[in-house]
Symmetry: C2
Subunit: 454 residues, 2 copies
Amino acid sequence: MSTSATAPSLALDDVLVGSVTLNQWIESIPQRHERGDQLIELSQTDLHKLVNTAGTENMGYLLDRLVPADAARVAVSLEPGVLVQVLESAAPDTAASVLRVLSAQSMTDALDRLEHEPGNGAARAQALRNIISWPKDSAGGHMTTSFWTAAATMTVAELLEAIRQQRDNSDSDNVYITGADSKLEGVVTLRDLVLADGATLVRNLITPDVPMVSPTTPAEDVVAILNASPVHEVPVVANAVIIGVVTQTDVVDIIEEEDTEDAERQGGSEPLDLPYLQASPAHLWRKRIVWLLVLFAAEMYTSNVLQSFESVLEETVALTFFIPLLIGTGGNTGTQITTSLVRAMATGEVRLRQIGRVISKEMTTAAMISVVMAAAALGRAWMLGVGQEVGIVVSLTIVAIIMWAALVASILPPLIKKLRLDPAVVSGPMITTLVDGTGLVIYFLIAKWILDLH
Amino acid sequence: MSTSATAPSLALDDVLVGSVTLNQWIESIPQRHERGDQLIELSQTDLHKLVNTAGTENMGYLLDRLVPADAARVAVSLEPGVLVQVLESAAPDTAASVLRVLSAQSMTDALDRLEHEPGNGAARAQALRNIISWPKDSAGGHMTTSFWTAAATMTVAELLEAIRQQRDNSDSDNVYITGADSKLEGVVTLRDLVLADGATLVRNLITPDVPMVSPTTPAEDVVAILNASPVHEVPVVANAVIIGVVTQTDVVDIIEEEDTEDAERQGGSEPLDLPYLQASPAHLWRKRIVWLLVLFAAEMYTSNVLQSFESVLEETVALTFFIPLLIGTGGNTGTQITTSLVRAMATGEVRLRQIGRVISKEMTTAAMISVVMAAAALGRAWMLGVGQEVGIVVSLTIVAIIMWAALVASILPPLIKKLRLDPAVVSGPMITTLVDGTGLVIYFLIAKWILDLH
């Protein structure tokens, strides 16, 4: 055994010449993305050499140890005949994510070839057709079809004999117990199995009340449901028959995907749906331009506000100096709140009925924050030498803008959720835009009042 | 078995009167946060009633099925004697997270009482002292101490007999193989064990090259290392002796914590380090005010910029109308980029040496975006009737600001990483602030040039 953190990385070139095995190279590079990058940089010739040296079975093992997008990129560079053999030895969920990125024609070809592979080919082709028939972000799209089944009427010894005879190894740490009509009756964990006596009836080891999901259950709901389960994976059933299992490894992938999507929404963009480095400028442009134009249109009315207060601005040009500072601070306050709140709603920590607590907490915090910021604003006005009255206007405005931003930022995410949309669309840029124009109105109304302008 | 998504939630009141068991209630509420909320809302009297009805062992099982922060809040309301019994039946990592929130005195008391509990108390107290001696965000702070060990010289049948005699049940899906001097020699998965013949030597089943971590390894590094491992959990070793295991369940918790921290940093705030609903206004104030003041100070120079171009503003007041629109668009462009990039760096997808690719990709995208936005800006200027020349100034400025924001937003996260800081501190508010003042300088320089002002 070795402590990965300190072991040096091996070179892929050494695998090509055969002085290091593919598995040793995999273990020497702890980051999945790093492995993918090195593989993608291989020339077509070197990739062929790698397949010849390592063998298709080890290539399947390798694809399982890449992020799905990288596995797909490496796989599409393989010759069709080789690809099929690699897909056969990769985990079903890895193979499915590779198939998803192929053209419709290549996918059909690959599945047809796989169908006619000797041994396990036909069964594997059917399993893959099943997985890819479900949406990518559903339980069906993330499940593995390699799992063990047994009957409740068996003894533990009989069950162990039965799973030893099932072809595929299992990706799951449970044995799924099915009845006469193939219906799922329960789950036995491997942990309970190894502790039981061989003569024990399997029926007596079944973990009660294990949740199940349907293949169309959204992937993010699967994560929430697993949190409730005494076992760490969830069976996917259709018509009461088990067709797959979402394992803990899949859950980690789902959480990372969901969190990436939320982060991108929070940055005021559509989710990229692609790994960042694989997104072309045209793809990035498409995902970003829509929100930029929406926000531009929403921000346009700041010009109308400024135009309508033109006489105020002409009378006291000094008011202009504070525009970016005031609306910037409002945007920052709102962004802080909305970010915490959206994340707390995404993890399930804050729910709709707690909105009252959220608003009162945020308004109290905003009041405390505004005291400090008002002092800072007064100091800043004094430094610029714009006179006491403008200083008072700026201070009062910053208090009002902070309270207003806090209200908008704490109401909007629950409101969006209430409309059954994803609260993550309430981004920092959206809050900033909303606060900019309204903040200017607040500013000029306070200015007119204090400075007695018309 | 039941499909959780459709089963109705049971009421905690029914558990109190004994018509529903605590486990049935747990299973009926899939969201861990929801369970925690209901428990925290119980009166002190009802909580005592719950302990009496359910028993301390089931209360331990319950705490394992809450988020750690909620488990801690429920636990601190228990009487010291009851608390100790509950801690004894909860998983060691749950018990440790409860102990961490107690006062130093209460923690010492609880551990002393536990030490003298009959049966397993002394061993458990020692295990807990071990876990809490490590930092909260380290491998040691997240590990469980319930795992099975066996010797490589055993047969599979002997190993199974040995683990049946180990007191604690295991939280792990592996058996850890130790040598004569207690040194960790390898790992056997339960999956391999159940497939093996009873007479097989354990030595022949060991999974080679399993990574290990030290108790001080940062929790986020553990996640990266696990991605490389053929098993799904990682042993924690000190002086080559195994002292704990970070399991996949812990990994899910670590990922969610890390992603929450990053989200909060990205919103221009310090990480809250507490569940949102449990953070008091004073706590929120502390975590937010520092960045707000830093950003305020950085934004202050926008006033100097505006003051120094006072003559330009007086000559052409119409230029003022576009200030929020122009700097707002710059901020939005920068926020989109920095959010995608920081997330891609957090998942390990983009690394420092790929910075060249990132910048060229972002500059190309920004050029494509600026064409559309320039047209939008020209249209907006025409709508406001500010004259053709101002329209040209605004259009040119938006192109320049978008390119500038893209450059700043794509260089800053890698630069911060290079300084060995967390790139997540490069938040939308930070980019917005940086682009605001510099964007104004760009604006007025273009205005002076096109409008021939002085």
